[in-house]
């Protein structure tokens, strides 16, 4: 079994353990209402985490995800409600702005040779500021309008024969994006390039790969997916407070990618692992609430699990290396 498959198995085991522990302690966990909520929550996080994973795989980082979420979550209601745009151009413009943000990050990183941390740190502050300025620091949302559009994200479809549970629409979107990302990373030459760039960018460039082009592409994808995530969060919640919306979400996205086996040194990572990583984080938060663990401890528990995941991963790697050495 390859290392990345073992990592996926590890994070899956973590997921299953949390499910078992929660289900044993709370009868309400497996209620359809809760499962649907969980799926609805995990889906948008999956979307933004995949973006973060692609950037991390090339050895980069994007700290601006939360602020791009705030900006896109602000722009969409602004265009629809305040400026009277129709739905398709408004969504198109919102995603377009997000992609342009990614393009700018990519150009600054590759052409000006600025460090990704600095460029996206600028983004973290700048886009949040723009979102707050744009709305005059007022909460924004769709009110009672655009229910049709919101239904696409908030409603669920029932499966014939399984009337007790229905599947939230947003899951389909997340699955489509995850599958596309998986195919892109594993079944196309471009995906191999990304991994090669993450392993050793210079070596990749000397092998004839246009590294700049692919790095720019990952930042565009990351910001685009963050923008899409912002739209999903805004449609689901229908309330965007520009000062707080999406705060820290980049850290959840990065944590999901790292839990899922992405190495911050680059060159390593899988989409499936990232998806499960995003699932673990949201599942944990749900468990904390269901088990009645004080909400003040929420961050501590999530942080603890991330640390334990990292330690377990490191120990496992060492044991595996020692075994290999012994066999030789």
């Amino acid at each position: 079994m390859s290392t990345s498959n073992k990592k996926i198995l590890g994070i899956l085991a973590l997921f299953v353990v949390i499910v078992i522990v929660t289900a044993m302690s709370s009868n309400n966990f497996f209620r359809p209402y809760n499962i649907e909520n969980l799926i609805k929550r995990i889906s948008p996080y999956t979307v933004i985490s995949i973006g973060a994973a692609l950037v991390i795989i090339t050895g980069g980082i994007d700290l601006s995800i939360g602020s791009v979420i705030a900006l896109s979550g602000t722009i969409l209601p602004y265009l629809l409600v305040n400026s009277g745009w129709s739905v398709a151009p408004a969504i198109g413009a919102t995603l377009g702005v997000s992609a342009l943000i990614g393009l700018m990050h990519g150009l600054l990183i590759t052409k000006l040779r600025l460090q990704p941390f600095i460029v996206t740190l600028f983004g973290l502050l700048f886009y949040r500021g723009i979102a707050r300025w744009l709305t005059n620091d007022q909460s924004t949302g769709f009110g009672n309008q655009f229910d049709g559009m919101r239904d696409i994200v908030t409603k669920s479809v029932s499966i014939p024969g399984f009337s007790f549970i229905s599947i939230p629409n947003v899951l389909f979107l997340a699955v489509i994006i995850a599958v596309l990302a998986w195919v892109f990373l594993n079944k196309t030459i471009f995906g191999r390039y990304l991994l090669a760039i993450g392993r050793n960018e210079q070596a990749a460039r000397f092998s004839g790969i246009h590294t700049d082009r692919y790095v720019i592409m990952t930042y565009i994808l990351c910001s685009f997916l963050a923008g899409l995530g912002g739209i999903l969060f805004a449609l689901e919640t229908n309330s965007v407070q520009p000062s707080g919306f999406g705060n820290f979400y980049e850290l959840y996205a990065i944590a999901a990618a790292v839990l899922g086996g992405c190495s911050l040194r680059g060159g390593e990572g899988t989409i499936l692992g990232t998806v499960i990583g995003a699932g673990v984080l949201q599942l944990l938060r749900n468990s904390i609430n269901l088990l009645g663990i004080p909400s003040s401890l929420e961050y501590a528990v999530v942080g603890g699990v991330i640390l334990i995941g990292a330690i377990a991963d490191e120990l496992f790697n060492r044991i595996a290396t020692m075994r290999r050495v012994k066999h030789k």
Binding site: E236, S239, N289, P294, S295
Partner: protein, 343 residues
């Protein structure tokens, strides 16, 4: 499968540790052990703050007095986090929820979901267009006007004022600030009026130079006060409109040695503010009664649960009015507060 064993073991440790009552000294949740046969009610806040810790004491007292189960849930993030926590409470099957919605205009779906699954009341910040059974709290606009009255008492001949507040995108903060402005400018009440944060607002006596928002970041709040003192040398009165603002104002003004020139007016009952009023460093404050928000919410939910619908007033609101606290009545108020929170 060493990885599996390790992660499983570690996780079980974390979860069991976190669930252990002895580790919950800084608890936001007043009940993890449900009393069987008794209803469970939830008191949901809009953020984590000392203000809500006082409300939590009220919830705890009601829980003891009435023999019911009650949990206090404090969302630590945005409207998304509040929604998630509410959904989890519904999934847990609580019988009633009292909530301070972060954005009542746009959270209609969440509020509807509460009403469909549990008894639903609002506290602190109302959602008048939702199917809530009752609102428990004060009128923030009127409380803002009270704060304006305090300013008029402190500076009857006029003042150059800066306002400091966590944000102005929340219903209660908007109304509180607007009430204050309307009172100073002697305007009649108007529920839809909103003066933007940018730009000077003035009449012949009072000038509001600026409204600065810190997004609940105390360190930033202090910087804003310090910068305002540099930018507006003529400023002679500062108002902190969220609970944590006034102590920061007091600290910054004291640090700059300008207590004689700049009057501090406060909102809420932070201990430093009450001490400041006693010492003559803060002119006065407008206090809410978070303890009663907590107590009355649980009490009302329990009455409705028992079928006593008459406990809901016809107006749909249980008014817990704000009060002005100045040097004359600070001792009496503080003694009562200490007795309630057991300090």
């Amino acid at each position: 499968m060493s990885r599996f064993a390790l992660t499983a073991l570690a996780l079980v440790c974390v979860v069991s540790l976190a669930g252990c009552p002895s580790s919950a000294s800084n608890s936001n949740s007043t009940s993890t052990e449900a009393k069987s046969g008794q209803p469970t009610f939830a008191f949901v806040t809009n953020c984590v703050a000392d203000f809500w810790t006082v409300a939590e004491k009220g919830v705890e007292k009601a829980k003891q007095d009435l023999g019911v189960n009650a949990v206090v849930v404090m969302p630590n993030g945005d409207a998304v986090d509040q929604k998630n926590k509410v959904e989890d409470l519904i999934a847990r099957g609580v019988d009633g929820i009292a909530i301070s919605p972060k954005d009542p205009t746009n959270q209609g779906d969440m509020l509807k979901a509460i009403s469909e699954n549990a008894l639903f009341i609002t506290h602190d910040s109302d959602a008048p267009n939702s199917p809530r059974l009752c609102y428990i709290g004060m009128d923030n606009y009127q409380a803002g006007r009270l704060c304006g009255e305090l300013i008029k008492e402190a500076k009857p001949d006029g003042a150059q004022i800066c306002l400091f507040i966590g944000n102005i995108d929340q219903d209660n903060s908007k109304k509180r600030r607007q009430g204050l402005i309307d009172e100073l400018l002697d305007r009649p009440a108007d529920p839809v009026r909103f003066d933007p944060a940018v730009g000077v607002i003035k009449n012949d006596k009072y000038t509001i130079l600026d409204t600065r928002t810190d997004n609940h970041d105390s360190a930033k709040a202090k910087e804003l006060v310090q910068d305002a003192m540099s930018k507006y040398p003529e400023m002679d009165l500062v108002v902190g409109l969220f609970e944590y603002n006034p102590p920061i104002l007091l600290d910054a003004v004291k640090g700059a040695n300008r207590l004689k020139e700049i009057t501090v007016v406060a909102f809420d009952e932070n201990a430093q503010v009450l001490q400041g009023i006693k010492d003559g460093e803060v002119f006065g404050t407008v206090v809410q009664n978070p303890y009663d928000y907590g107590y009355k919410s649980i009490e009302l939910l329990n009455e409705i649960y028992k079928g006593n619908k008459s406990a809901i007033p016809e107006s749909g609101m249980i008014d817990i009015p704000a009060r002005k606290i100045t040097k004359g009545n600070v001792d009496e108020f503080w003694t009562d507060l200490k007795a309630k929170i057991g300090k």
